[in-house]
Every structure is written in C-alpha cells, then in structure tokens.
Symmetry: C2
DNA sequence: CGCTTGGTTGAATTTTATCAACTACGGTGG
DNA sequence: CCACCGTAGTTGATAAAATTCAACCAAGCG
C-alpha cells in the first residue's frame, strides 16, 4: 500500500476504493533515496511524477549567488511533483532532506487515469492546488511578517501538516532541518534564525534541540505567526 | 468569443476547436465589474469560477493590521479563480484593480467537462499550475531579493505576461497600479517603492508615469531582478 | 585526535520602515 | 471658471530590523 498517507486528514473519504486501486496500479517503481540529494533538477524533461511514501523532501530555487530559497517542504503522503505532469517540466529543483522512500508514477499512466476517472482526477488536481495554497501563505509570510513571526508561522504550518499524518502529537515532532535550512525557508540568514529560535525559547513558545521540536505554547505561537490553518484544507483539526 | 485570450501565447494550440466550444458553452454569465472592488471574499462558498475577459484583477491576503499582501495580479485571459473549483472555497480575496469584464463558469459545468474532456481538463489543470509556478517565483522574489531587485523582477514578469497577450510591445505598457499597490505586491512600503522607482529611473532601466510603464533597458532590468521567464511557460518569447 | 558541520555570540554596517511634512494633480461643486 | 478636496506621489530625518563578518564552541565521526 503505497498511498496510505495520500490526502490523509484531507478529503481522503472522497477517494473511492476503486480509484485508490487504480492509483496504486499506476505506480511503476518504488525507490529509496539518500538524504540531502537533489533528485530532480529544473528544466530536465520529466516523464514521471514522484510520490513521497516516507521521509522529508524540499523544493527550492537558487539565486544568482547560489543561495537557496525553499519554496516547499514535503512530508509523507505528498505527491511532490505531480504538478510536473500538466507542466511537463519543473521550474525548480527537488531534493531530499532525509533518506526517502518514493513511488514513481509515469505520466502516461496519469493520462489514462485522467481519461477514465474524473473523481480521482479532481482529487489529484486538488492535491496540486493544496501546494499552491501553501505557496500563497509563504508569499504572505515573506511579504508581511517580520522574522520572528515568519519562523512562528513556519513551525505552525509544519506542525499542522505533520499532525494530519500522525507525525506530531500537537506538542512534539521531528523536523530534520538545520537552522540554515530553516533560514532558507523563511528568507532570513542562519545567524538570524539562530537568534529567532532563541527568542522563541525565551518567550516560552517553542524549543528546538537538534531536530526535536517542542511546541510549548501553540496558541501563542499561532498568534505571533498570524497562523490560521484554513488554507491547509484539513478535515477538522481546530 | 469569451475565451479569445485563454492560454494565448501558451500551448493555445492544444486547445481543440471542440474543447474551446465546450468551454464557451459552459459560461453561465458575463458581467462588468467596477474598479477597486472585492469580488470574492475568502471563506465564502463558491459555486462558480471567474474568467477574466478584460481588465486587471488581483488576489490578496490581509495581515492582522489589515495590511494587504498581493499574491497574484491577473490580466485578460486568466482563469482567475479556477482553483476554487477543486478547492471549494478560496483562501484569499479576489478584487478588481480596473473595471473588468468577467465570465462566470459554474462548477457543475466544469464537472461535466472533467468527466467528458480529458485534454481540456489537463489544460485547465495546467492553467491553475501556471499560477502556482508564479507563486513560487514570488516566494523566491520575496525571500531572496532586495527591494530594488524585487521591483525589477515584478516589472519583468508583468511585462512578459502582457506581451504574451499583446498588451505590451516590449518597451511600453499600461499597468493600472499605484505605488502603494506595487508595494503590496513586492512586500515593501509605498514610500520605499517610490524610492526604488526613482532609482530605476536614475539607472535608466525603467520609468513609470501614472500608469504608463516604459522599459528602457529590459536586459538590464532582468539582470537586476534575476528574472528568467522560463517559469511562465510561454511558447517562445526570448 | 583532528576535522567537519552545525550552532552561538558580539560588533559594525546596511537595508528598510516609520513618521511627518509637503507637492502635484484630477475631479467636483459652487 | 476657479477654489477646494482627496488621492497619489515625493522628500528628509530617525529608528528598527536584519545582514555581514569574524570568531568561537560543541558534537559526531573518521
């Protein structure tokens, strides 16, 4: 069962048993990837899409000096580059953060699904638009929030996503990102990220040791980060 | 002919005559909207999607103090909130900048198209993912570029989009946005936007009077803004 | 043990926001 | 026709936020 976490916590009930079966049948290959490895580069032609079974991946773009800007962080259950199917190629790079297990689905198989399974098609489309909704929230975060609020917002989002797939109990989770990675996600330097993390700890909102994140005050963190999970389209989850 | 500019400059040839006809038949209503009016608010349930026939619209989110962050600017030919079809509701507001002419397409009609026209479905999906690609570029812009580069990048993007639909000749176009609007798009204050526009003029890159934009050095502007139009998925256009 | 990576700290500098005036200009009403 | 008004744009001074640079510490690994 490859797609166990697909849309988990998000309209999973709309995925009929037959559609799920068809989706499983579309998988051409399952692969294990090493950590910190770029799996797909921008502009390379792609004929398959990558579904993340387990692990953490990210998508990023480089500026002229080679500095990264993360545009998305992906966890188990994410159809990471399904958007490459209608687009034909990616406009960014895709890399692993941890060791990952991924399933590859050929675009020709997706063509078949689109031609025969409208309900599934709409759900696949939906899943790509979830990413777009998160993109918008990242724009908001970078455009309107200061550093401390950006970091708070990022952790709130990440916690909510992990909780939806059972990888967070609401106050504790593993996030395999360095402070430099976090800075690349939030548009600040790693030095400043370090100071912001300390401030969050001082304010008793959040503490991170290595890759262990402890949310000490979720309400307070959400207030500071102006976080409202509506854009994640989760089934309920307060 | 409502969809004359749809996908213009971008795989328009993949849209068959029959599919186009079916799309035209799906339009339930055509409306004229006044300028500077919020047309759809976040969280309101929507049953139709909005295609922009002519005019300029924007999508935005408010922070807690009510300050706006634009997340997209739309021009003729954009299926502005097609993503609301799979999502069910919007996570942001949609407003006009100028007076606009829009076509409304009921989601039930889209359901019918998805069930019967796979090629059209894929193109509609594609068009929503173009927006996602632009979102990513906006994330990059806000996360990695300083103010002057952000502004340059924004103008490069806008010029390229307008050129694709014949609203720019490469050096001159109309952009009905105030300096405050531009600031809300680029994540800077209107005061700072004013200074950046002056600097662009001083550097002989771009001059804007009222809503008249004159690109004086497109190459230079693109270099400064680290702009590469690949993410716009245009047919050619250097 | 020494090396590398990630994290921490302080000081100086740069960038951008904020605040407060003030100007230019296109309507509108008298 | 002109005075007035509101919006958009402009400018300078000051303050706040974040970067940069340079050093140093700590842990994990060969």
């Amino acid at each position: 069962m490859v797609f166990a976490d697909f849309l988990r916590g998000r309209r999973r009930d709309l995925l009929s048993a037959q559609d799920l079966e068809a989706l499983e049948a579309a998988v051409a290959d399952v692969r294990n990837l090493p950590p910190r490895k770029t799996f797909i580069s921008r502009d390379q032609n792609i004929t398959m899409s990558t579904y993340l079974i387990d692990g953490v991946m990210c998508r990023y773009m480089d500026d002229r000096q080679g500095e990264r800007q993360l545009v998305a962080v992906h966890v188990a259950g994410d159809f990471v580059d399904l958007h490459g199917y209608p687009l034909g190629h990616l406009d960014h790079d895709l890399a692993t953060l941890t060791a990952c297990r991924v399933a590859l689905v050929p675009h020709v198989a997706l063509d078949h699904l689109v031609a025969t399974r409208p309900a599934l098609t709409k759900l696949l489309w939906f899943s790509t638009l979830l990413d777009a909704a998160m993109h918008r929230e990242w724009i908001f975060r970078l455009g309107r929030l200061d550093a401390i609020a950006r970091v708070s917002h990022f952790f709130c989002e990440t916690e909510a996503k992990l909780r939806a797939i059972g990888r967070s109990d609401g106050s504790h989770f593993i996030l395999p990102m360095t402070q430099a990675d976090l800075g690349e996600a939030c548009g600040i330097t790693s030095v400043h990220m370090n100071r912001m993390l300390r401030e969050l700890k001082d304010r008793n909102l959040l503490a991170m040791h290595r890759h262990d994140v402890e949310i000490r005050d979720r309400k307070g963190l959400a207030r500071l980060g102006e976080f409202d999970p509506a854009y994640l389209f989760l089934d309920d989850q307060n």
